[in-house]
Structure formats: structure tokens, C-alpha cells
Symmetry: C2
Subunit: 196 residues, 2 copies
């Protein structure tokens, strides 16, 4: 892979996190990585094409981190504990979540990587919760799908509060709060009933 091409992707990845899509211009990307306009339009059809590659690279990164925890054989509650209690820098925002407010993201091609990221989180969290219910380790009155949505929302919303109040810690409070609520639903597995 060409080094300039990779540098363009890396710079776009960084600037998307820092300023979002609409507010990031090709010129800013070029300044950031020291490339020239000619390289940009040689390697990519345009801003949108580069952004999609950069977003997909970021999603791969984030999903790999997520899978380290949710793909492990930790007990279900410990998975959520590890994921939710990771320290986050609230004001920076979520590299994916912050993009959805950009007007251009209503374009479906631009939205695809973001959709992929959140669908992955939601699906694997709700699978974990569903298995916990089957093992009688989780209260059965709440739907795993809705519960997963609530957890992901608490994280994303925590970033919003952090930026709104200019306070890096708000997101961590929100994550702690939703973890406490989740912990309240944990049940000790009871001995398996024997049919007959």
C-alpha cells in the first residue's frame, strides 16, 4: 500500500474524530499529512471516498477492541464492567457517534460504516444478554435488545453531556450509572431443574 495513500487515510481518520465530516476539508487533510492536492485526487475520487475508507478503518479498530472483551469467555457482567468502566475522554466524543450530526451523513454511503459499527455493538451485547437470561443469570423481564440499546445509548449520550458541559468525566458517570443498573438485574444461577 502506497505510503502517501495511507497517510491520507490516517490524517482523515484523525480529523474526522476531531472535527467531523462536514467541517473537515481536503486542504486540512493535506496540511495535516504534508501531501499535495495532486496526490489526494490521484488516490481518491474525492473527499467522500477518502472519508468512507477512513471511517471503515476506524470501525475495524473499534470493533477489534470491543471483540477483545465481548468475544472473551468472561462472565456476562464482567464483559459489561470492562467495557463500560474503561476511562473515556468525554470532550473528544466518540469517533463514530460524533459523525451522525453532520448533515452530509444523511447520505447512505457515508452512513454505512457508522451503521455497521453500531449494529455490531448492539447485536453482540444483546446476544450476551440473551445467553445470560438463558443461563438464569439475568432478570428475564427486560428484552435483551432494548437493554443493549439502552447501554449503547448511555455511552453515546454520556459523550453528548460531556461536550455540552465541557466536562471530560460526565461520560464516565453515565457509563458507571448504567453499569450499576445492569448489575441490579444480575441473578445467581440456580441449580438446573431436572426434568422427569
Amino acid at each position: 500500500m502506497n505510503a502517501t495513500r495511507q497517510a491520507l487515510i490516517d490524517s482523515m481518520k484523525e480529523l474526522l474524530w476531531l472535527r467531523g465530516y462536514d467541517a473537515t476539508s481536503p486542504n486540512q487533510v493535506l496540511d495535516h499529512c504534508g501531501a499535495g492536492k495532486g496526490s489526494f485526487y490521484h488516490h481518491f475520487k474525492g473527499k467522500k471516498a477518502l472519508a468512507i475508507e477512513a471511517m471503515n478503518a476506524r470501525v475495524d479498530e473499534l470493533i477489534a477492541d470491543f471483540d477483545l472483551i465481548f468475544g472473551s469467555d468472561l462472565p456476562w457482567l464482567n464483559k459489561f464492567q470492562q467495557y463500560l468502566l474503561q476511562p473515556r475522554t468525554g470532550i473528544k466524543g466518540c469517533p463514530m457517534g460524533r459523525l451522525v450530526s453532520d448533515p452530509s451523513i444523511s447520505d447512505n454511503e457515508l452512513r454505512t460504516p457508522i451503521d455497521r459499527y453500531f449494529k455490531h455493538l448492539l447485536m453482540h451485547m444483546s446476544m450476551t444478554l440473551s445467553q445470560a437470561q438463558q443461563a438464569e443469570q439475568l432478570d428475564e423481564n427486560t428484552s435483551p435488545v432494548i437493554l443493549a440499546e439502552t447501554v449503547v445509548s448511555a455511552i453515546q449520550g454520556g459523550f453528548i453531556i460531556s461536550r455540552a458541559l465541557h466536562d471530560d468525566q460526565s461520560v464516565n458517570s453515565a457509563c458507571l450509572g448504567v453499569f450499576s443498573l445492569l448489575k441490579g438485574l444480575a441473578r445467581q444461577a440456580e441449580p438446573m431443574a431436572v426434568a422427569g
Copy 2:
């Protein structure tokens, strides 16, 4: 109050919700309300000044709605029920929450109305929760401040998920989920009927 001036504020309010701050240009505001450039810069120092007035007007509106519920004498859980189970149009996003991702919002003057909105929600929710604890109607193991942050985060994050998945209902699922979790912490010092 001059009618043109008011029309400019109303149009900016609308466009801020629709497109955010950075992506809304003075020309778009003028097209939206039919005013001319001269009127704009006669009544307002510039885009930023108009946006601040429009944001403050929106916050007043949202806070009035919020206070209708949280300023009432409903039981604490019913307040959260009414507020959280209001149907929301997820893809439109929260008129305040969507603004925090705009790079320009790191400017403190622009952030002030947003800060005021969220501080109001958080303070009054945590007061309600604190009083519920004193009345022994709410589990005492979780901090009211953290719980309030979790509730507001679930709403805001729900909007993010809605926009990410292009699904109006995600935000309502997230709100339902956090309400269920909250309901699980209710204690019956006195008889309380709660549907849902």
C-alpha cells in the same frame, strides 16, 4: 419586537435543529424567512449572535415542557414515565444535543445555552430522585446525580443511535429501557400505581 427580527430568530431556530450551527449559513436563514441581507445585519451583529438568541429561545421552550412534568406533584416515577415515554422522532435528533458535535460549539458563548439546558435537566432530575430516596421510595445504593446523568444520556444517546441506524424508533427503545431499569429501583413506601 420587530416582526422581521422575530422571523429571523424563528428561522434560525428551525434550521439549527435541521442542520446544526456550522452547516447553517446566513443565506439559508434569509431564504427560509424571506428577509434580505440588510435586515439580518441590521438586527444582529452576525450569525453567532442570532444563533445564541435562537438557541436561548429553544431552550426556554424545552425547559417549559420539562417543567410541566417535573414541576408537577406527580409521584417521582410517574414524572420519569411521562418524560421518558413521550414519543420522539429519532432521526430529527435533539434540538440541543445535536449541536454539540459542531466544531464551532467549542466556543463558550455558543455553548452557554446548551450548558443551561442540560444543567436544568440534570439538576431537577437529581433533586426528584434525591427526594424519592428521602421518602424511601427509591433504592439508596445509587447516587441521584449519577442516575440523572444516566437518564439524560440514554435519551441523548438514543437520538444518536436513531440517526446512526436511520431508525426513528431507536430513541424510544432506549428511553423505554432506561425507564424499566429505573422502575426496578422503585421501593413502595406508599402505594403507587404505575402502568407500563
